[in-house]
Symmetry: C2
């Protein structure tokens, strides 16, 4: 972590879990002098001020960015067109803009369309971190420590802009990887978007059974962990699923095929085949998620 | 927790995570005087002796049960017919037998067939606890604290036998519920067996993608929690899925229908419908798993 000031003025648009934690982490690293927060609700802005994630609060993005050095767009992806349209005429020529959206192709298309001449200083980014909680009150400075942040710069993106954004995330303790935007979206559909859909669907299935209270009351840690991410923001996840739907539908189909193979083995009481499939899953999890042999 | 000795000699057949932890918990509560462990592998028995879960080890179930007061069958369900056949001729008339199998109708049918006259002192049970680890070396005395144990006594089951088994589990810190065996199996298919199948299928889908190392390397806590139970024993879970397949196939179908509704909403970019479904899941999880309003 560097203690050099990287950014004089940071503007965080969307002061929720991600935006708030980014500001807190940069402040703790002394990498930023001043942070302005822009949000839609007074309550969230008040939480961000109370936590000292931001030094000033505003509901007017256009005014807030006028003297910005770095702008982080941490709103739901759905709001990006409106936010970019609002700020583009007011961004200083030096300002670098980045985002924290969970999908990248759509945000890049949006920036290309709405940021105009500022597009060369737009660095598309995605911190792969979060909890099932949302809002400024959930923010904490260690959120990104040891986590992956993916940047997907385009051929037009100015190299110094990408370097500044990379250094800022590294100052938060994150590990930065650069990827092609399409590859990012395909990977995230698999490791994040699909697991969320699975968790939401499983909880809804349980909710539809007679006496769900008894069911949940007799459940154990296995169910609790499997559906933890069903506590995530419905608005945000509806946006993500739709924004990345081609990639998501492709992996959903692959998953349904795996499930169908297991269903057939259960129906046929094929113990050997079930053991083979379950063993493959156990060994894969052991290798990549326990021993982390990347 | 009572500190009164309930059991002079306990015999645990299958000294793995469950059997080992039951013995450790009863010893800590001073509810048992002596524990004999019966297992298939010397290594597991050696682990159980080293942990002081058991005082003596044997690979001969028939010999071990000759002076038993309580016998816990904690082997995979698949081995129950062989174990019951082996011990039935050697059980003292006073001995109470219970089990820890994850399915109940099949174990009850097996006991009815193979335990002969001892069936009236057989108390079918299922501690809803565990981790993704297995083996005696994973056992610990707090495993059952605050957890649910379900007993499914039959009309033939002697009431004092059920009471003794209930007291033993309560001495381990567990909450005991009595249920109909069929209801037990239907509930467990929903809250436990299906989530395991889902986790195994999701991991196998990821394993089938190109470059799974990069996928897992860029995953976050959401995936890790969702697939934790894919670390569970393949042998045990293949047995469970087959033993409880009617109930499991029914809830698997319901789950696939939920998934199909989500797939249709994603494909149709129906944001309102996706939000509605995700909100229902979030609220259900919040009510039952966070606030625990049973």
């Amino acid at each position: 972590m560097s203690s050099r000031v990287l950014i004089n003025k940071l503007v965080v648009i969307g002061t929720g879990l991600i935006g708030g934690s980014f500001a807190l982490a940069l402040k703790r690293a002394r990498a930023v002098k001043r942070v302005a927060g822009v949000g839609r609700t007074r309550r969230n802005l008040a939480d961000a001020l109370r936590l000292k994630a931001i030094d000033e609060a505003s509901q007017d993005a256009a005014r807030a960015v006028r003297d910005a050095d770095l702008v982080l767009l941490a709103t739901p992806v759905e709001q990006m067109p409106a936010v970019m349209t609002a700020i583009a005429p007011h961004l200083p020529a030096r300002a670098i803009v980045t985002d924290a959206g969970s999908t990248k192709r759509d945000v890049i298309a949006c920036a290309r369309r709405f940021l105009g001449g500022h597009f060369t200083r737009f660095v598309p980014g995605h911190p792969i971190a979060g909890t099932e909680k949302s809002g400024a009150s959930s923010a904490f400075p260690e959120l990104f420590r040891g986590r992956n942040v993916i940047l997907t710069p385009q051929r037009e993106t100015a190299a110094p802009a990408t370097r500044l954004v990379q250094r800022a995330w590294e100052a938060c303790g994150a590990r930065v990887t650069r990827l092609d935007a399409q590859e990012h979206d395909a990977i995230l559909a698999t490791v994040s978007h699909l697991p969320h859909v699975i968790a939401f669907a499983l909880v809804n299935m349980l909710a539809s059974r007679p006496n769900p209270g008894r069911l949940f009351g007799l459940s154990a840690g296995g169910l609790r962990d499997t559906v933890r991410i069903a506590g995530s923001s419905p608005e945000m996840w509806a946006d993500i699923c739709i924004a990345n739907r081609d990639a998501l539908l492709a992996v959903l189909e692959d998953y349904e095929n795996e499930l169908e193979q297991m269903r057939a083995a259960i129906e046929g009481a094929d113990s050997a085949e079930l053991r083979r499939m379950f063993t493959r899953a156990r060994n894969t999890r052991e290798k990549w998620l326990v021993k982390k042999r990347y």
